[in-house]
Symmetry: D2
Subunit: 290 residues, 4 copies
Amino acid sequence: MSEQSPNAVSNWGRWGATDERGTLNLLTPALVQRAAGLVKTGKVYSLSMPLEAEGPQWPSRHKTWRVTTFRNPPAERGSADDVVSMHSHSGTHMDALCHIWYDNQLYNGYSMPEHVTSTGATRNSIDNVPFIVGRGLLLDIATWKGVDHLELGEAITAADLDACAAAQGVTVQAGDLILLRTGWMHIFHSDRSLYNQGEPGIDVSTIPWLKAHDIVAVCADNQAIEVFSEMPPPQLPVHAAAIRDLGVYLVENLNLDALAADKVYECLLVIAPLPLTGGIGSPVNPIALA
Amino acid sequence: MSEQSPNAVSNWGRWGATDERGTLNLLTPALVQRAAGLVKTGKVYSLSMPLEAEGPQWPSRHKTWRVTTFRNPPAERGSADDVVSMHSHSGTHMDALCHIWYDNQLYNGYSMPEHVTSTGATRNSIDNVPFIVGRGLLLDIATWKGVDHLELGEAITAADLDACAAAQGVTVQAGDLILLRTGWMHIFHSDRSLYNQGEPGIDVSTIPWLKAHDIVAVCADNQAIEVFSEMPPPQLPVHAAAIRDLGVYLVENLNLDALAADKVYECLLVIAPLPLTGGIGSPVNPIALA
Amino acid sequence: MSEQSPNAVSNWGRWGATDERGTLNLLTPALVQRAAGLVKTGKVYSLSMPLEAEGPQWPSRHKTWRVTTFRNPPAERGSADDVVSMHSHSGTHMDALCHIWYDNQLYNGYSMPEHVTSTGATRNSIDNVPFIVGRGLLLDIATWKGVDHLELGEAITAADLDACAAAQGVTVQAGDLILLRTGWMHIFHSDRSLYNQGEPGIDVSTIPWLKAHDIVAVCADNQAIEVFSEMPPPQLPVHAAAIRDLGVYLVENLNLDALAADKVYECLLVIAPLPLTGGIGSPVNPIALA
Amino acid sequence: MSEQSPNAVSNWGRWGATDERGTLNLLTPALVQRAAGLVKTGKVYSLSMPLEAEGPQWPSRHKTWRVTTFRNPPAERGSADDVVSMHSHSGTHMDALCHIWYDNQLYNGYSMPEHVTSTGATRNSIDNVPFIVGRGLLLDIATWKGVDHLELGEAITAADLDACAAAQGVTVQAGDLILLRTGWMHIFHSDRSLYNQGEPGIDVSTIPWLKAHDIVAVCADNQAIEVFSEMPPPQLPVHAAAIRDLGVYLVENLNLDALAADKVYECLLVIAPLPLTGGIGSPVNPIALA
């Protein structure tokens, strides 16, 4: 049930009236094969933050809970297991395309009240995302600006993205998975109170840029990709535009320090959400191969 | 605290007295870079089964629970999230090296009572596994045997593994991640009662084979990798030997049908466990690039 | 913000425009003291069903989950604890007055969208119910009808309630907590498939009766107090009228067999919900003293 | 399998070699009927603290988690429910007799390794406690000592209990449920850091007193009934003696201020644990009728 989005920058209908996958449609085998060619040294990076009660988490959400159960019969084989209670949007995680809506419409015009209930989502859910695999492009804004981290409320514009890419000597390509480094994850460790007031991040000037460049995902080392300076933020316009209008994927709470230290600007990036049937998102452990 | 395992087939001490990573030590950048060269067409496969209450699960464990929460204020942006309660050993998942012990010792001689408690594990936990990346080698035993699936209690021996590889025209290499296809996952769908009685799988004759070939992981389309025919199984000797003695990783409940249909015998395989601090395992969504 | 309910049978405004407690307002100290006088022998009955995965539960809800954690250091004191994941509406439980609404209004006219969110309820929540204590009146419909249990879809009318009381030689009094026995809990054990198709229970003719008699609560040995014969029921009119219009409390999944066997028609009844801040209901273990 | 406890103060075997109920055996119908006679005014008190993430909780345990799910179809009846994840030992709660052991033995000599596993307890579990009903006896130590609250690490001795009772003009009776008021719950609100360092409470001199008086339960307004001054406490000797040796019930984190303000020294006390099959304890909302 695809309807014309009133918003000028939209991908609705681009991949058909019944599409639920959004920009995943751009990740062709040819693109993946080219990205695999970026693996030069075989060095592998995990880009996740620890998944634990004290890990990065939107402050109003419950903390991640894990307890361990075990059996240790004296003369036999013993074994252990865990029980985990968590929000799917916990720690390093990605949003499904049903995560955000306005005017009661999801990406590609689906009706929110019809398709999102306590049981889960019947359109645009995380199990429509078996994987996100492609060229990871690191835009290390913090290093480009010569700082340890950007400031609270500091906006990253489309012009900043271009300038940073140019400074790094890389070209943005269609199908890219942007790895955006603000340095803000350092504040998670050093000043939790400041961390929970907002963040630096991209602003709405990047929305046309995301569409023009056919970006598939934006993965950042902050809580919500976009800039805001009060908690809770009165609005998250980039979320609304990227997810709901463009069908672009957002992945939050990454740790990009190792990639940046090695100046790995291009990589084969593999993101593998848990196949939670009807789910609204998933914790992830993004893997970069360089 | 490394002690000589009484068992003849062991990797204890091989990577040092304080090693907690086991066979991950074999996944060198050179090996990863060679594996990336296996990506010929860019076709990508997710090898996971759905993660949901009705997904594959050891029958005595609680089912995976997901409920969705949402906010839909009439004139504003709405959003949703999930709350998930699950065992870390749920659906398609991998075991950490602290999952199994005997004689109160974990892999590499660590004391179980000292290191595994309700709070979690302080040695050999899943957060010691930032990723498993290497050459995935599909051994499609079912197709080799000309059947849809092996039978309950049917053992796969070391000789079978060699013969299957030969029949497929592939060579087992050090550092391989074996993708073992029994066809048993079909029974999960077609005969749940039979499925819960046991399974076909590898037997103890494969233990020296795993060591001799320096296999890093065995990933199978059954519940527990190894053969057994009563539930619960009185013992799981392959688990004990592979995990506790060899530091080999076991990944269970995969779906290998698509790989098998396309005869993808070699691939770049990426397994990215959730970084659950102190955890005993993790659900995973293994990704194969061919 | 109290508005006149369009429904003729209503308690809105009766206890003030800002009331959130509904019929609890009728449980005066005098009434409680009289009920305490009903304790003749000191025999005590727990009226709950087991709270466990296989206990009575609305079929579309996740089952109750409990795992036990423990510490058993060899030479020291050991201890254990549990982790429980459950719906508040699990097993024997009671509904808060915010559980049901229509026309976007809760009991006493409160706006549902304003007061019920994923965070919980800010009006009519379970923590407004520190206790329900009063005269428990057993109406053993099954025994009165000479059957082990009423039939699927069999309605209990206001006339039935009166006739049963008369046959038992008891008088309904203002402030009573009705203990309604249908025998349907036997079907939970003997025919789960039938049990999940619906139930016998009270019908809408009892709504004016509940108001006329100033009943505070209806506690029954079925899943939903009221009669229905398809799952899920297209509507639950007694829920809507009792909870939302009258501010009457519903308590479900009781076991009333022991009370009935001893012909305990009157008792001091104590129901103590868990004080879940903002909660929509609570598991309970109702205690009858005779 | 009852064995003679080496400890001199013990109730093992007193109610038979297979007893699992401990002092509940003392709550006879006659005792309950006498306690019902204590209801003079019909005023009812809930003695629980709020059950929520920020409620009283042993600091090393995960906080209580509740999220609300709901359905609000525009033209129909809407409803809500909660999902709760919690420790059974959360907020105001009681310990089952399997909660504590030493020398690998539970109350009445049962083997801990045999009877307590990750699945739960098969002896002395909370579902052996359908209710605790009897005479509640308030010993308001804080008021007797003329203070708002006792100090961190301040011990309450057997002599103190006797003196307080005398000062209040009450007599301790066999089968009593002691309501012990230290005032320490005020510190939960006013100085959380101090609160988490330990508490005032009873010391081991009260163990023979508990047995001599045939006390069934001790319910206190602190975290662990007994005195300690470091967190975590190296031992909890009152827990070990009361629960494991005497089969006495401990109920923690009560709010006794209202009872104390009204000088309600005697009451009918009703404690109704959730019937968690195999559970190690339960949150409770104790109800006092005066």
